[in-house]
Symmetry: D2
Subunit: 358 residues, 4 copies
């Protein structure tokens, strides 16, 4: 495969560039008979869409969901869902100035080396816009997970060096940065606005919690649940790291501290982050991802042009000064897709319809 598909039994294939006519996704392997209305998907799209607040890009993509196949009388048929999102606010000419420059932090340089040809209008497939299809597909997966009592929630844990001190679940969707601490959220927003005014940007950390996954989900060896989640998260453009449970802090812990002991009530701690040997323990699955600062900034930066000659670049455009708030629904979407895929693989392993052996 050439890299635009993800998943095995619940499989998504995306297409589209940021400044083309549309982006979208084919979702193959959808459980048939699922009641699915467009409003449910649209709700997730709206969480991702630009222009939600002062801290996101003013680019307006209404991201209106169109389902062109795979649904009949409000229910999935089991055949591929095709979801398309027409691009409504393309301004490719805005990119004329940078046609011959490599933008620092962007994939311009690497795409040209990979393909020998480059569409310079926006970031093409490397654009955050590509994730719109993922969020649409993720909504379908989320709907399936709801039926088995699984819930997924990601939120901002840290932005620009400001850390959340509390975990107030109900506050997350109420503030513009989707932080779990409303006090920290206010400081984060101030910080972002200040940086935006200077033409700079900042990064952050997003945490994700998944509840209700029954023990036994995940395949040993290469397709461990955490390995597949790691791949899913690192496949999101701005993500530079991931850690599960105690994560990097485990490096300084003793075995006697890190091991999650058990008694008849269950696990006494969750340093493992809900996954042992690549398989879910039934505890909350917890991971954090490192989000880099937005690459597009208007401060002048050194770069070269296609001929390798020194140039100065200042990326004027409509960009989020911090990606965290809008990456939250993308992280949730990818987590939903990984989980449904692994639930389906677990069903295949036991293939109850074939044999009932145990």
């Amino acid at each position: 495969m050439a890299g635009s598909s993800f998943g095995e039994q619940f499989k998504i294939t995306t297409f589209g560039e940021s400044h083309g006519e549309a982006v979208g996704v084919i979702v193959d392997g959808v459980t048939p008979g699922l009641e699915l209305d467009i409003a449910y998907i649209q709700k997730q799209m709206d969480r991702r869409k630009p222009g939600q607040s002062s801290v996101t890009t003013p680019r307006k993509e209404y991201d209106k969901v169109h389902i062109l196949s795979g649904i009949f009388e409000g229910k999935t048929t089991g055949t591929p869902l095709f979801i398309i999102l027409y691009n409504s606010d393309m301004r490719p000419s805005a990119y004329d100035d940078i046609e011959k420059l490599f933008r620092p932090g962007h994939a311009d340089y690497t795409y040209l080396h990979k393909y020998g040809i480059r569409d310079h209008r926006g970031s093409g497939r490397a654009s955050g816009r590509e994730t719109a299809g993922r969020v649409a597909a993720g909504a379908v997966a989320r709907k399936l997970l709801e039926h088995s009592g699984v819930s997924i929630a990601a939120y901002t844990k840290e932005i620009g060096g400001i850390k959340c001190e509390t975990y107030a679940e109900d506050e997350i969707e109420k503030n513009a940065v989707r932080a779990c601490d409303p006090v920290a959220a206010v400081k984060m927003i101030e910080k972002i606005e200040e940086l935006a005014a200077r033409g700079d940007s900042c990064g952050g950390i997003v945490e994700c919690r998944i509840r209700g996954v029954r023990p036994g989900i995940g395949e040993p060896v290469f397709d461990k649940l955490d390995a597949d989640l790691a791949k899913a998260m690192l496949s999101i453009g701005a993500v530079k790291g991931i850690e599960f449970g105690a994560g990097f802090a485990a490096a300084a812990m003793l075995g006697s501290e890190h091991n999650d002991q058990m008694n008849q009530e269950g696990f006494l701690s969750n340093n493992a982050g809900g996954i042992l040997g690549g398989i879910s323990t039934g505890e909350e699955i917890v991971f954090r991802v490192a989000v880099k600062p937005t690459s597009s900034i208007s401060l002048p930066q050194q770069t070269v042009n296609l001929e390798g000659v020194d140039q100065t670049i200042s990326t004027v455009g409509r960009h989020d000064p911090c990606i965290c708030p809008r990456i939250v629904p993308v992280i949730e979407a990818m987590a939903c897709i990984v989980l449904v895929d692994h639930y389906k693989r677990q069903a295949a392993m036991h293939d109850q319809r074939l044999v009932d052996l145990l």
Copy 2:
């Protein structure tokens, strides 16, 4: 697939349990005509094998490499290499005491919930022993990479809270913990020995540097080079996190700091860790993985038995008090496999024999 295969055009499939008769690997997609001698593979196996020093398990597995197919007169034929490593020091009876207990930090509990059946002798597929086949396959990939000037080296960066302060490349293979700082190495070894004496264990951080990868390797969107490396690393039992370049530190950086600017000499920094948009930049690829403390410790721990009744467990056995030194060649092996696979996919994309368009 059921999780025991990895890679697409250079593909490995492993089999075997820690206390069965053998472990091994089928390597499919090997470039034909490669000169390959067993000693070259054996050298990598010897770096992974137990019993190398006071800080590794005294279990003796000679890990003698047997190649049963895919080679003819010292050269690869392009057909699947099959490499088998017979287990020479199985003591399954050593596990009789824990037949009905879940060892904390191990996959006993999750395997039973996944499969409904469990082989209690050792950790089965979740054992570090499974990685022997990966190291053998990785040696083949490494040989291919040598031909294009790519080198891979991993080393211990931190153990038990003790951090390396210097980077002395030549010292790495000279100390028992494979640390890049010989002074820190002495302290690490003392720490490990002290913990081992108390029946405890510790974790650490391993860093990997890959040099000589030309720009353009990696597939956009889901099969990004960093996404595939992340999956590969998280598929190793004890790994709980990964970060590329500046990694989690990027969360507190500004865009103007994190962006790697360029001039006509090349990149001015490498916060990206050698990968932009999922594709290699030509700079050094750098990532770090978090290694958890060894789960098997002899200190008493709380657990339950198969009936859910509270029990105390003390894992007596032959285990590494710190996995870092022996995980180094496994990390290198997986990195080699990911890279060869992506080099091959790049060749497929341009398919020079089919067309020459650019």
Copy 3:
């Protein structure tokens, strides 16, 4: 995967039902830098479209090609091509009468048993309309093959018991049934018109010849070139069999007759059909497929309704009385896709950019 994707390095994923809003395809793994104009693809679509002559269905689908991504300034970029074909002549209400009946020869009964739910308007994914996306993708593959001198041509060999006696290559696209014998073509057309008048249908045999494939294409063991071609052809709805070279006639031949001997000029015969051990010999690749009679006929037939009660059905609609003429471009398209995929896999095997060993 759930069955809507085909290929590995050149990979197509289709979506869409016959009476939904659109059908289409994502083509991933396209060689970058390929000059590709819409007219080239449209030409192949027009060969497949209905309403071409008296022997094809009067349903009018203009099948106008829209490419929404993967192309820039007339050249492929290497990112996924997305091609959509809006359905322009849906009449789902025409299917109201058969909402509760299983049409003989159709997949109505099996879809309901598979999914537990059925979209009764037309044949959904089992409709020949699904192949429109394949033909579009196949045109891209064909363009790539042209660059290496490979040509593919399929044609009708037999219809309704009338066999071609000659092979006149230039006549194929000149007659309405795409037969290689213009005299037989006249009889075939008469036969089809007569059957159509009676409300019946007929089958036939289509042969495909591929020239210019260099020796060495195809993977041994499971992904043999003939195995992948067989899968590709049997994945087309109406195909019930395939044979290569001498095919079923080989069953009655001696080894001394069937073996293709060689001398310094090359092969002395081509009973193998251009493939030995699953790998191309450099000779013409020749295979034939059996095409069943169109299932939709207006003659009354016995069937049951959803409750299992006996019913009589007469399928009134707009259907081809013989599928052969319109299946020809679908067979060519799938052959092109298989070949490009295998050319790319051969490039990956030798990965010239990585090593040059031989």
Copy 4:
């Protein structure tokens, strides 16, 4: 992948050459908890092994089954089964004479063009010996199918132009050619012995019947059940064609004849061969494969050497004059593997543990 793996949820990967040390298979995705004894697998191996009668090669491979992983206390654990079959009767020196010649009908020429290097001892991966691993894996799949009441039986239908006139199921395993007509079997054996005496060989047709498959198995579009069976069968070296149900005869039938009508008792005929739209109907699945004459014959044939100079070759060795009797268990094995894989995919589609929607 490089071609040595088959299947998705029940996946086999084979290795080994005819004159190397061993052949074998990793079977991944085995349902856990299955009672599996070696004798059950050995029984299938014995049906495939050489030296069973006067009509098979005298080469003696005891094909003793060794399972090195994936089984514990007589039950499968769900982790990969590894089955190895050591080669016991290699005589690579017997091939010295042909080191520099291309044997007609063999893959010598194509392997050299593909890989640029060739192991001339026997046929390497193209040897029928590679199928030993398939038969071992197929026995595991067969055991799983038994639990759901599915039975698979292949048998010789025609050899050397002699056709079976009756279908006597109980006679199949009683005659040396596994023909379904004992009278025809006697003539077939005479014919084979006569040809063997002259140094020639012959082909035949093998039919396979699968009973008890419930309706709904198979994926629409590309992974149709018949498409996957076709690929599986064409992946067997000597197979040159396949047809389902009425097969090639459908080309001369009318729609009114070919359509399988229904009444409340079920289907009134089975021209479809048990598959409609790529999905099982619940009727018997029936297909036939064309088997070419054995390529190795001792009659002199024209060929060229590595330098392209004309030569005469006479393949002296231990070969079956007709492959049909020994291909029967290979065909059954591949059919079992395809079916279990599709049963598992059907389980994944409905993922009962996740949701129960219908």
